[in-house]
């Protein structure tokens, strides 16, 4: 008969307790006041879990970008223009900018025209006459467009196609002052185009515009200020391409190098306003006005990797995207 004998040596361990303790989840006020925390064990904390999201409100991503651009312009000494007028007359939107009345952009399928109120009823009439003359006959050193300019066309109301219409109003106002003083203006506001809609185009979007009016400005000055502007967005590699705008000459498209796509992409448009636009307003002969613009949506979509513009603005936007959208730090490379 085999008898197995097992002998165990048992000693008290360091954790030896006479009572059975349940590990606590957290400190409580009672534990603090009674000091009982000293004798309690606490559950290991799960550092891998996320915290409780705070209840917060949120700002819309595009409007955060807008605030940043407003800030950039203010840092550069630019004054904000009053752009709170979506309804504009063809006169300010096109004619005062030396865009001819037969221009395709004034077609019903590029521009939203208004049926009610259909026409504007007040214009600075002597200025209007000068605009009529420069379009139809020329003058101020220009051949003009040589067509019959009609006031009925100019009176037609529309949804503005660019905030340059406001720049025109501001420059006209500037020219009416007794003495010319140089200005730097900017605007960021909504514009409307009646074009074909697709993943990156909507009927309404936001235009950013900067304008400088001063004696003897050069094309080099325009390039320089554009460079400083885009530098604040972390973009320093620029290339300028000759382009065409009815109201600027010279005109330049602005390109920057996209490291990801490994190619040059267009990021804006710019130019020197034509004398046919400035001189009828009454601005002095040697005052040059330079301007540049871009859309607000495009850099925003690039920065946040959004492919479809309807995911960014309008009612189809996913609120979770707004909840999760980070701070808008434009100075950190956007492309």
């Amino acid at each position: 008969m085999n008898i197995k004998l097992n002998i165990f040596h048992i000693t008290k361990g360091t954790e030896f307790k006479l009572k059975l303790d349940k590990p606590e989840a957290d400190l409580t006020p009672e534990m603090i006041s009674s000091g009982s925390w000293r004798t309690k064990t606490f559950k290991p904390f799960n550092f891998d879990a996320l915290g409780v999201p705070p209840t917060s409100g949120h700002l819309h991503p595009l409007l955060k970008v807008r605030s940043e651009f407003r800030q950039i312009f203010l840092e550069m000494g630019f004054t904000e223009m009053p752009t709170n007028n979506f309804i504009e007359s063809s006169f300010w939107n096109f004619d005062s900018l030396f865009q001819p009345q037969q221009h395709p952009a004034r077609d019903a399928h590029d521009t939203f025209f208004i049926s009610d109120p259909a026409t504007a009823h007040e214009f600075p009439m002597d200025y209007l006459e000068r605009v009529k003359k420069v379009h139809s006959e020329g003058g101020y050193g220009s051949q003009g467009y040589k067509y019959d300019w009609k006031i009925e066309e100019a009176q037609k109301n529309l949804l503005r196609t660019h905030t340059t219409a406001v720049s025109a109003r501001m420059l006209y106002k500037l020219a009416q002052q007794k003495e010319f003083r140089p200005v730097k203006y900017f605007s960021i506001d909504r514009v409307f185009r009646n074009e074909t809609l697709d993943a990156t185009h909507l009927a309404e979007f936001h235009q950013i515009e900067g304008v400088v009016a001063d004696y003897g400005l050069t094309l080099g000055d325009l390039m320089g200020i554009i460079y400083e502007f885009f530098k604040k967005l972390g973009i320093e590699k620029l290339r300028f391409k000759p382009a065409y705008n009815p109201y600027t000459e010279p005109s330049m498209e602005i390109f920057s190098y996209h490291e990801g796509l490994k190619k040059w992409v267009e990021i804006g448009n710019s130019g020197v306003f034509r004398p046919e636009m400035l001189l009828p307003m009454g601005l002095p002969q040697d005052v040059q006005v330079i301007a540049w613009g871009l859309s607000l949506e495009r850099p925003t979509m690039i920065k946040y990797g959004i492919d479809n513009i309807r995911d960014l603005i309008g009612p189809k936007v996913n609120l979770q995207m707004i909840y999760d959208n980070p701070l808008c730090r434009l100075d950190k490379k956007i492309i």
């Binding site: 050193g141 000055d221 000759p242 065409y244």
Partner: protein
Amino acid sequence: MPTVGIKRDLLFEVLQKTYTDDQFQDLCFDFGLELDEVTSEKEMLSREQGTESDQVKTASEAIIYKIDIPANRYDLLCLEGLARGLLVFLHKMEAPRYRSIPPTEGPRQQLIIKPNTAKVRPHAVAAILRNITFNQDRYSSFIDLQDKLHQNICRKRSLVAIGTHDLDTIQGPFVFDAKPPDEIKFRPLNQQKELTATQQMELYSGDSHLRHYLPIIRDKPVYPVIYDRNGVVLSMPPIINGEHSKITLNTRNVLIECTATDLNKATTVLDQLVSMFSQYCSQPFIVEQVDVVRPDKTSITYPKLAYREEELLVEDVNKKIGIQESPETIAQLLTKMCLKSKVVENGSKLLVEVPPTRADVIHCCDIIEDVAIAYGYNNVQYTMPKTNCIADQFQINHLTDQLRNAVAQAGFTEVLTFALCSRDDIADKLGHNIENTRAVHISNPKTSEFQVARTTLLPGILKTLANNRKMPLPLKLFEISDIVLQDPDKDVGAGNERHLCAVNYNKAPGFEVIQGLLDRTMQMLEVKSCKDDDQGYYIRSSQDDATYFPGRCAEIVARGKVIGKMGVLHPDVIQKFELTLPCAAFEITLEPFL
């Protein structure tokens, strides 16, 4: 921006150089063009028709460059003009001298305009290309250029229509008249039998290409028509040419006629067409003149092919660009751009010759741009304007940005909605009548989404809710943005108003939540809650607003004026916006708080 499709190999042959796509892209960039796409006829057709169609199987694989051309450069709209421009730009050739001359023997051909044309299409110009040699490429290019000009400067044939004819099949003098549609009968291009104009209008109403031009003359009492001395119809502008005088690859002499409602444009169009294709005449760049006899019996000779001179100060050119070049260098740069120049007055001025192909040059600033292009935009040094200004914010925008932050801090989420919407969105769906909304109406909406400009921010926010029904509750949204109202005091008859609208969407409507936000907003604007003081704000019960649930609607009064409304939304409104839960909202104007 117009796009031209150019056969790459043909282009390189004319340029006498082969480029890689990247190299050509760079050349375009410097010249002011953009190489948009590298494709082939086969690729383009297979995109339209799929890869199995017969047309695609026999299509050419020759590379086509699609190049974007600035809208005012009619001289670059065909291979001939583009290549010519590039060759001069690259110093490989001198810009040709375009001339018009009378015929070597006999009098000029005549195009006689009859008085009736004044009723429909009063102007006409004409010219002849003598001893021209076509091949398939040149012929296609000729047709394409007419098409491009029709689309652009001719404003889809409404301002100018071009007709080209084999001169050897017809006999002058030619007559441009306007006749009642039933009196015009001829065999139109590509048709087998003669048809009256009325029949042709009928026939072409189904033609995808031509039907767009029919409205230009359809309802007129008389239609334009051009015929020769034997009654042979050359064309019925702007619709179609006759089969009889059609141009073939064997055509040697071409009559070009342009009829128009804008004489200046017609002159320019004629000049462009003949400058481009006179290249293929036995005497290149020489065009034969035609006399156009007007109803008042006066006669004008075309084409004009006018050269113009502009004078520029050298100092001006340098100053406006920001460079320091000698007058001789600037003159050379301009010659590169087909603007032949010479230095005059001891080097202080430049005399620049503007050729008929550069109709886009109408002011010295156009010439200065060309100097900059030839110099190279990217060679210009960046400088900074010395303009010193103290910046100012636009008050309402400054307030808006501060308030947006305050409302978000109060726990609401900002949305950004469309300023354009349907009439129903601001009226029916809210229980209102559109006539009482003072809304601005759009005359040419493509869809009902663009019928009016919004008069309230509420519909946009409700639509955003409808698209986010699966999100956790409560949904607390806001927007601070412009609405549009008719306003007879404004020069255009309407103006914007900055509004703040906030909405609480939850299992319970939360009137008190919305009111809490209103109270907080007023606190931020330093407006005290006070019924008696006309500087403070208070709310009072409001009846008769169909947007809100009866007994749960209030007017918001601040500084003595009603600035908006708040309340629990009416169940009808909730359902019309495809929502299911109760909702409370307020909307106020911010204008009084500036």
